[in-house]
């Protein structure tokens, strides 16, 4: 077990290195030069060159990469090209809202999808199966921005039940109830996508397990249907579901960018769009790296969890 975990972590290290290289290369494709945007338009060429030299931008790409990596390992992500604040500080201010939004959406999505998936598998081809399956198709097919605009139209603009966007009322007390009210609609949007996907996996995984011999045995020896479904079948069918969590994280990050834009939710997604608009590449690079590391870590974690839950995987 320990050997498997160590091997899995060792594989992740070169991948992490590759992630930093690719991330650096992508941002270096950017046309123009950050110096041109930072300094006063009336600066002389000599001043420009001096600023470039001070920032290390006159060196070859691989030297720039190495400097950046060394700084990164020291926890220094550089300064924002547009506001001149340390990038770490900017990220810290936006991480909280995004983690709150994504975490609540993931939990709500799973809490709804897992029981529904089980019911669908138990009552395969019944009306409830068809309805839930229809909704799951809707969930995976509807673009986040269209659903977002739709719920704002219905619940915020027409019914006035919830605010149209942002995280707290301007000038409000910032209380828990206030944040909760602002959270409902974006969570609804993200959880629809997450849940729609999850229902399909739970249903098919459960169907798979329900056809297994050991469940026939459980039935034959007279166990109640409740015990069979919720103890024997559920446990085994949830194992493949662990990998779905690993798939969901990158999807959730993509969904969060669009959803945060629609609802003006002050998280990393909104920061991404702002950084793109203001060509703030140092911030963009940091967000991209953070997102990639999150995905890498989530994959590592799901692989290890999978191996813990299902010992057979280690022999593959």
């Amino acid at each position: 077990m320990l050997q498997y975990i160590i091997r899995r972590i060792l594989i992740a290290i070169p991948v992490l290195f590759g992630v930093t290289v690719l991330n650096f290369l992508i941002i270096n494709l950017a046309p123009g030069n950050p110096v041109d945007m930072m300094v006063n338009p009336s600066a002389t060429p000599a001043q420009l060159a001096a600023t470039k030299h001070a920032l290390g931008l006159d060196q070859p790409v691989w030297v720039q990469y190495w400097n950046w990596l060394v700084q990164l390992l020291h926890g220094n992500l550089g300064f924002s090209y547009s506001t001149r604040e340390p990038v770490t500080q900017i990220l810290m201010a936006h991480v909280g809202p995004t983690v709150l939004l994504m975490g609540v959406s993931l939990i709500v999505g799973y809490l709804i999808a897992i029981p529904l998936g089980i019911i669908c598998a138990r009552k395969q081809n019944s009306w409830i199966d068809y309805i839930v399956t229809g909704f799951s198709f809707f969930g995976i097919s509807v673009p986040h921005f269209f659903l977002g605009l739709g719920v704002i139209y219905v619940f915020a603009s027409k019914l006035l039940w919830f605010p149209t966007g942002s995280m707290n009322t301007l000038g409000g007390d910032g209380s828990f109830i206030d944040t909760f009210n602002h959270l409902v609609l974006p969570v609804l949007v993200l959880a629809t996508g997450i849940g729609g996907n999850m229902v399909r996996y739970v249903r098919s995984s459960m169907l798979d397990v329900l056809g297994k011999d050991y469940l026939r045995t459980a039935k034959a020896k007279g166990l109640s249907q409740f015990l069979i479904t919720n103890k024997h079948a559920l446990r085994n069918s949830l194992i493949p579901i662990i990998t779905v969590i690993g798939i969901d994280i990158p999807l959730l990050i993509g969904g969060a960018i669009v959803t945060e834009q629609v609802f003006q939710w002050p998280g990393l997604g909104l920061l991404t769009i702002q950084s793109i608009t203001s060509r703030d590449y140092s911030t963009l690079m940091a967000i991209n790296l953070l997102a990639a590391c999150t995905v890498l870590f989530a994959n590592l974690l799901t692989d290890i969890l999978y191996a813990v839950a299902d010992p057979r995987i280690r022999y593959d």
Binding site: I11, P14, V15, G18, V19, L22, I26, I27, L29, P31, Q124, N125, D129, Y130, T133, G134, S136, F137, F138, S141, V142, P143, H144, F145, F146, L149, I152, Y153, S157, T164, R200, Y201, R203, S204, S205, L207, D208, L210, G211, P240, I249, P250, L251, I253, G254, G255, I257, V258, V262, T272, I273, I276, L284, I287, N288, A291, A292, C293, V295, N299
Partner: protein
């Protein structure tokens, strides 16, 4: 048997009984295989609906210059007009005919959906074949590269890249195409690993056929089924991706019409609440296009996997 959702490989309830009697002469096998998949696919009602809807959208895209009532970029005097006989879906804040833009938007979705997937399927097939067939350090290198690409949240990295190289229809198709290959590569590699142990491949090697011939003519045709399913769902995701990028202003930009950029106007609360004809039709078109492709993918998967479960 109307709706079936089976994202996982093992589908117990579909173990085919009808297929057992069809062990015919090997020469006719391929014909029979396609026929069987076709028959199973046609039983999937939603998948058939999906095909019809998708073909309709394709037709709208192809015939757009003919059927569109107006030039989609032409600016009329009346802006923000409500739907009328002259403008069936009204005009947008600039004064362009919404109906015409809706029709031309189909071209964008179809181009990105099919173009981007074609690019990444080609890349994924080549890398997957090479990694699986040669193994060793080549395999190790390609698979770690796949891990690196898979670590980046797909939408985010596409957004950043497109914003850097400049948003346009060509660029988003290219970027989605250049970044979408890892899943296909993994899939192909997995198939190759099992297929290359088959006797007919060994026979090909013994007969001295060239490696590309063995890879593309002997191994690839037998690994196509899962690629097809994956590519179909890929089309759906590329359509959503384009719409989202265009919505964010990082995709197809006005005056060119895309369903995604038509929804950008609805970020203004007045358009959202008092001019629903501007944003609900393009939103529904995206939903319809993506749903139809997902239904087709689901039908294909059921048809192919129940065949394999034989």
């Amino acid at each position: 048997m109307a709706m079936k959702l089976n994202p996982n490989k093992n589908v117990p309830e579909l173990a085919g009984t009808e297929t057992s009697g069809q062990m015919v002469v090997p020469f006719e096998k391929e014909e029979t295989y396609l026929h069987m998949i076709m028959r199973r696919f046609l039983k999937h009602r939603l998948a058939c609906v999906g095909v019809v809807v998708f073909l309709l959208i394709l037709l709208i895209a192809l015939l757009a210059p003919v059927i569109s009532p107006q030039d989609p970029a032409k600016i009329f005097n009346e802006f923000e007009a409500a739907p009328s006989a002259a403008h069936w879906l009204g005009t947008d804040p600039v004064g362009r005919d919404v109906m015409s833009r809706l029709i031309f938007g189909a071209q964008v979705s179809i181009t990105v959906g099919i173009g981007a997937v074609a690019i990444y399927v080609a890349i994924g097939i080549v890398l997957g074949l090479v990694a699986g067939y040669f193994g060793g350090w080549i395999d190790m290198l390609i698979m770690r590269l796949t891990d690196v690409f898979m670590s980046f949240p797909y939408f985010m990295v596409i957004l950043v890249l497109v914003s850097i190289i400049g948003p346009s229809l060509f660029n988003i198709t290219l970027v989605i195409g250049l970044l979408g290959w890892p899943a296909i590569a993994r899939l192909v590699r997995g198939s190759v690993l099992s297929i290359k142990e088959m006797d007919y491949v060994k026979a090909g090697v013994a007969l001295g056929y060239s490696t590309p011939k063995i890879l593309f003519q002997h191994i690839l045709p037998n690994a196509l089924a899962p690629i097809l399913v994956n590519a179909t769902f890929g089309v759906a995701s590329a359509i959503i991706m384009e719409a989202s990028l265009s919505f964010l202003g990082m995709g197809v930009r006005p005056p060119a019409a895309s369903w995604g950029n038509m929804l950008t106007q609805a970020e203004s609360i007045t358009v959202l609440s008092s001019q629903p004809w501007l944003w609900i039709p393009p939103g529904l078109m995206i939903l319809l296009a993506v749903l139809s492709v997902n239904f087709i993918g689901d039908g294909l998967r059921d048809a192919i996997e129940s065949q394999n479960a034989k």
